[in-house]
Symmetry: C2
Subunit: 252 residues, 2 copies
DNA sequence: TCTACTAAGTGTTATATTTACACTTTAATT
DNA sequence: AATTAAAGTGTAAATATAACACTTAGTAGA
């Protein structure tokens, strides 16, 4: 049985979830991929994938995403946000993908629609523990991705677009940075996501005006330059803010 | 077999699409619902639904949405945008919904995940022709909805939220108004969606500054007041605009 | 033909937001 | 003591927003 064994509850053969986990390492934006552990017949190129799998019949989509992510990468308690569904009949057009499905699925030929989730986390705050059919989980630089199975490249691109977009009208960063952090770190985060440089003074002014940041007395120590002040998030204000995205901005 | 007969290609028993079609009649915002044609056992309340059905195994999600909408309401060539997936195991918690499924589905008990689409159209530009299991299709005032099956109320609310949100950072109106239209008509459209009043002068200034509107020489005739100037959309600029939503606004 | 009615169309001012831009400060390192 | 590195700070100009009321061009009816 091995890989084909499943837990007590039944799998829905036609619906899966995939997780696009973006990671920030204080420097660059990365994405989490798994090694499916497939030994290519010959020396064909290795193919990576997003952590994802079929949903169970007794869980909802959000629960499935949480479970699958945990099963494959060890990550848990991550806030996942749904951003789209992907269901082209030709999602499954690579021979290597089909081979792989045959090794893990009861119905490898079934037409699968996948519901995609994304999150953005602080890389060094979480430890990866690949398991189930994931041989290993890795962080890949967002602009240097390996070959991906199925339509996972398309899914990642859609997720990145969503992330960039969201970052423009919602505050980001909570849970993404250390408990206490400097404004430079927060600025770097935005710059990594948006792929642009931001003006230091304007950034500070803007982010401090919204008041979901609380300045601490504490400063950096041991740095070979003027030490930066630490800040923490005001979680309550921050949550309020996200709730009201709706009223937040009226463009036209 | 009647209702249970299906066309040549197989249905995926676990995945459906639902369409939230918002309609604008120059006055109010409405949503399109179908009468499932169910005769309640007793005099129990009539239950309405969004146009939606299972997808076929050989079509993608967008195609399924187009097809299902056309089959149930006669509407075609409508731009549908996906906005979310809904898949709580308890979507199916009303007895009347189960009864109804038994009358039309091969596997009425199957766990179904639905992918939701929305659109916004000009009501009097389209004719409704209910068919398949839809006995009739109606426009309902968005703030006076009848009893709805499944989780369709939740889906409509999510769709409306999306629509309001989108209207704040994307130009709306193309395909929603007559070929040529007045600024008042466009303003009414925004007011209907946002549920607020807008200042005439500020609205004009703002919308004219973006230049996706082309003024015509032509004016209204026969109106018992100063005739309004007609405008048409500059489709090219308008499309550019939507493409670049990404760079469009940088809030933080 | 005059009057009343209706919606279209128009401009200004005060306030808030955005952008661009360069020097001083504080620490560690040599 | 001099060097290096990033933190931190202010201003002015340009742009965007919000609030607000009167005139105009037509129809309809007296």
């Amino acid at each position: 049985m091995g890989l084909k064994s499943v837990s007590e509850t039944k799998l829905n053969p036609n619906v899966s979830v995939d997780c696009v986990i973006f990671g920030f390492d204080s420097e660059k934006l990365k994405v989490l991929l798994i090694d499916r552990g497939q030994e290519p017949g010959a020396e064909s190129e290795k193919v990576y994938a997003l952590p994802g799998n079929l949903i169970k019949t007794d869980e909802n989509l959000d629960q499935a995403a949480d479970r699958v992510l945990k099963e494959l990468t060890g990550l848990k308690n991550i806030y996942l946000e749904q951003f789209g569904s992907f269901g082209n009949p030709d999602r499954l057009n690579k021979e290597s993908d089909l081979q792989w499905l045959k090794s893990i699925r009861a119905e490898p030929d079934a037409r699968v629609i996948t519901v995609a989730y994304y999150s953005l986390i602080k890389i060094d705050q979480y430890e990866l523990h690949a398991s189930s059919f994931a041989k290993e989980a890795f962080w890949y630089d967002i602009d240097d991705l390996p070959t991906l199975g199925f339509d996972h490249l398309e899914i990642i691109e859609a997720g990145l677009k969503e992330l960039k977009f969201k970052s423009k009208y919602e505050p980001l960063g909570f849970e993404l940075l250390p408990e206490k952090f400097t404004l430079s770190q927060l600025k770097h985060l935005y710059e990594a996501i948006l792929g642009t440089d931001l003006d230091k003074r304007n950034f500070r002014r803007k982010i401090l005006k919204k008041d979901f940041l609380i300045p601490l007395e504490e400063k950096q120590i041991g740095v070979p330059h003027k030490p930066a002040q630490y800040f923490v998030f005001n979680k309550k204000k921050y949550e309020d803010y996200r709730q009201n995205v709706d009223d937040f901005y009226f463009q036209l």
